[in-house]
């Protein structure tokens, strides 16, 4: 699959169809990959596809100029469609190289299950229903279900819906929509007071690094509301009240454009369970407004559209 990808990407550059290729290259740490943004044919040889291609590359579409050939997993392609719906990029300026994905390995989960940090693990290999983890010569097998990211477990669109070139065979969604929902269900089962205390505790350790906002393709505002000083909505001080407000408003602002790709939670340096928020919003948007982000490039963006009759039980 990697060979085919490199061939196609190289062809796009050689035929002058794109100015840049955005894809994944091997990372400098074990079990990591890093975004590759290049116009050089020689660098195409380093493009990879494996179980660790975590970044949502759609983020770079709003920055990199010109025509772009972009490698997109299922979730990424929906972020790209979302950006097209919002008119941030033009469909004709993007050539989507779709890569069907059967799920990515969450290195944090693997670390917890084998009790070792990633630099102490020799190898992690996804083998169908099992993940083989080699540590110091000894091999452990984990059920794949326990090693994948939560949002991969309930992935509905493993094959990109929108693409120009498809690498490999399409994958059908066999994942159970109910999987990966434990944290959210746990929260829904608590009393409101307990829930608020939970989030208060979580946001006490937020340091306002804005990694969650910066990796999110849906967060493309040139001036974020937190940077507004007249009036000042939140202080640049990481008090839990302001951290909480920042994240809640961020979720509401990206509602309908967030594809629940999970990048925000992965990049948080202090381990705040942000997907328990994005997943809930994604579910609300689906239940209340029958909408799934990035599935129809011709649909109007969620928050600019309306039906004549809706939300009757909430606002009278």
């Amino acid at each position: 699959m990697e060979q085919e990808l490199r061939k196609e990407a190289r062809k796009l550059l050689e035929e002058g169809k794109v100015d840049y290729i955005i894809g994944f290259a091997p990372g400098s740490l074990k079990f990591s990959t890093t975004p590759l943004i290049t116009e050089e044919k020689e660098e195409i040889a380093s493009l990879v596809i494996n179980s660790f291609v975590v970044n949502n590359l759609a983020k770079f579409l709003t920055e990199v100029p010109g025509r772009i050939g972009i490698v997109a997993k299922g979730c990424d392609s929906r972020s790209i469609v979302s950006l097209i719906q919002d008119n941030r990029i033009a469909r004709e300026n993007v050539i989507i190289i779709g890569v069907p994905c059967s799920g990515l390995i969450d290195i944090v989960k693997v670390e917890k299950l084998v009790g070792k940090d990633r630099d102490e693990i020799d190898d992690i290999a996804l083998q169908g229903e099992k993940v083989a983890v080699t540590v110091g010569g000894g091999k452990t097998e984990l059920p794949t279900k326990e090693a994948l990211f939560d949002n991969c477990l309930s992935c509905e669109f493993p094959t990109p819906q929108e693409y120009d070139i498809l690498i490999g065979e399409p994958i059908n969604a066999t994942c159970n929509r109910e999987l990966g929902q434990e944290k959210m269900k746990e929260l829904e089962g608590m009393t409101p007071e307990r829930r608020w205390e939970f989030w208060k505790h979580q946001f006490s350790r937020c340091i306002m690094c804005y990694a969650c906002r910066q990796v999110c393709p849906a967060c493309f505002c040139e001036q974020c509301f937190v940077e507004e000083t007249e009036p000042q909505w939140v202080l640049p001080v990481p008090k839990w009240q302001d951290n909480l407000i920042f994240q809640v408003i961020r979720n509401i602002h990206v509602a309908g454009r967030c594809t629940d790709c999970g990048e925000c939670e992965r990049v948080c340096p202090v381990n705040i369970p942000l997907r328990s928020l994005t997943k809930k919003m994604y579910g609300l948007v689906n239940e209340m407004l029958n909408y799934k982000a990035g599935t129809d490039k011709n649909a109007p963006p969620l928050m600019t559209a309306y039906e004549h009759e809706e939300a009757k039980d909430l606002i009278r």
């Binding site: 409101p192 608020w196 839990w240 509602a255 928050m303 600019t304 309306y306 809706e310």
Partner: protein
């Protein structure tokens, strides 16, 4: 006038200037009796109400937030209240999931001729908030 010694909820209301604000005015000129707990902020349209305004209200210590606009189909700017509808519905449900009691955020449609309705809305919200209690959501230093 009875001496009120119990706690009174403080409510901030975002009223659209074309319908709801006029409706509130009508409640006043018709001498309707209703609790004096709402501090009214006039907005040009309910579509102006960003969820940030709602959260900022709660952050500042208001016990409840009311958003009121023209009835769907009657918006002075045609579609403003349709946008508000989706936004506020999602905000309310999402904040409920966070742990904010639903009584703290109320949205309603009040037209310029519904002074009665406005009075009822305020009375209802005030009553609901008296049961939920004072807003201590954002108090304290956390852990």
């Amino acid at each position: 006038m009875e001496h009120k010694s119990e706690w009174e909820p403080r409510i901030v209301g975002f009223l659209c200037k074309w319908c709801s604000y006029a409706g509130a005015d009508l409640a006043g000129t018709s001498r309707k009796k209703y609790p004096a707990n709402v501090r009214i902020l006039k907005v040009p349209c309910s579509g102006r109400v960003d969820p940030l305004l709602i959260l900022k209200g709660l952050r500042l210590g208001f016990d409840g937030v009311v958003v009121s606009g023209c009835h769907p189909g009657d918006c002075h700017y045609q579609t403003g209240n349709y946008r508000a509808r989706r936004r506020i519905a999602l905000t309310k449900k999402f904040l409920e999931y966070m742990g904010v009691p639903e009584e703290r955020i109320q949205a309603t449609w009040v037209s310029a001729s519904e002074g009665d309705k406005f009075a009822q809305v305020v009375a209802g919200v005030t009553k609901g908030l008296k049961e939920v209690g004072s807003n201590k959501l954002f108090a304290g230093n956390g852990q």
